[in-house]
Symmetry: C2
Subunit: 225 residues, 2 copies
């Protein structure tokens, strides 16, 4: 561990590199509606990015009731189905492809760590042209997703970098919280629809609009051209 070394970057995927948060929000909304559950959309928005299991638990709490294991599974399946319909409209966020290419070209280590499954992440990795050598940690590979630290710890381990020398990049406060639990600094991006202050309030180190904003400020993280 050497804090003066250039950090490695651990990226969240949905809302951070691809513009998919609002589609996830409406997919959850439609899964809940189909199950006869009426939950306002903004409350769903503020839960996206956390583990799907925790998200469903949190929504159940906000509805003031419990879900059975079968209900949880049915909701998750309904969300996945609804999202698949919207997925073709998901695009890389501004600067995402250029940022990842630049990091790769200059030898900066980076990885992806997402609360999503390998199945939903796949098409987005293709759109982003993520090289096959880059570690991608999904929900399938760790016991707990965000805001637990496991995804980011696994990504750092796969890179062979101390987590304390990693900067997490995410669009939701669940990324920032998971980063802090893991012992990494966190950069917040506004591209998932949280406000700057919400990121700052939970302890983000820096906040940028989107991947392009991060790309042109890499030197603020000690990544020099």
């Amino acid at each position: 561990m050497d804090a003066s070394r250039e950090p490695a970057l651990l990226f969240d995927l949905d809302g951070t590199l691809v513009d998919s948060v609002y589609q996830h929000v409406l997919a959850w909304r439609s899964a809940l509606e189909a199950a006869g559950l009426d939950l306002p959309t903004w409350r769903i928005h503020r839960r996206v990015g956390m583990s799907n299991g925790l998200l469903v638990n949190a929504l159940a709490r906000e509805l003031g009731r419990d879900f059975s294991a079968e209900e949880v599974e049915a909701l998750q399946a309904a969300h996945a189905r609804a999202f698949r319909e919207l997925a073709p409209h998901v695009r890389p966020l501004p600067g995402a492809i250029a940022l990842l290419q630049e990091l790769t070209a200059r030898g900066t280590l980076w990885a992806i760590a997402t609360s999503g499954t390998h199945a939903t992440a796949g098409p987005n990795l293709t759109k982003l042209a993520v090289p096959p050598t880059v570690p991608v940690i999904t929900r399938d590979e760790v016991p707990f997703a965000k805001p637990d630290p496991d995804l980011f710890l696994a990504a750092a381990a796969r890179l062979g970098v101390a987590i304390t020398n990693c900067v997490v990049v995410g669009d939701s406060i669940w990324d920032v919280l998971a980063a802090r639990r893991a012992g990494a600094l966190a950069v917040g991006l506004l591209s998932g629809g949280y406000s700057r202050q919400e990121h700052e309030e939970v302890g983000a180190f820096r906040v940028y609009d989107d991947p392009e904003g991060l790309r042109i400020h890499l030197d603020e993280l000690g990544i020099r051209r």
Copy 2:
């Protein structure tokens, strides 16, 4: 004008009384995509609630180009078409119907002032059971929509109440800004997906989660049971 009198309430509609912001966001996203314009969804989200004309201008600016009058019209029509498909899923927000009924029952004056058109507002007024005696000011009736003050000034005039004795209730910062320009206090609701701090930053007097949050705190506005 008597500041010690009980205030009248001027309500925004989308995101304030009905849960429609995220559908409007994706309808704009799909209208822009169909026109070959790639704008990240969160930037659209932060523009919803302002006048459609200003919204399109603001999006053009963020895309770094100008739209012709024909393009603006085509985008607005495409948004309206895409929204009509999603509109059946729009529901009243928690507490909205109870709040309006309670205000009516106790004789508190209230009105609705929306940047939307009469055509899109209609079905939502039905879902909310807005009595025909309640003034509803839409985009069709004023020269400029929010953040210009015209909608709220017209609503206060229709109620016969001084604007300085009105409290505007809205979910977007455009409501708060229009209220301040008009000379009214503004209450922010989180149900449109803005954060508490974004409302406070532009000068909201109070911020609640949703109409139910406002209903149980009416006495904070000097509206007593």
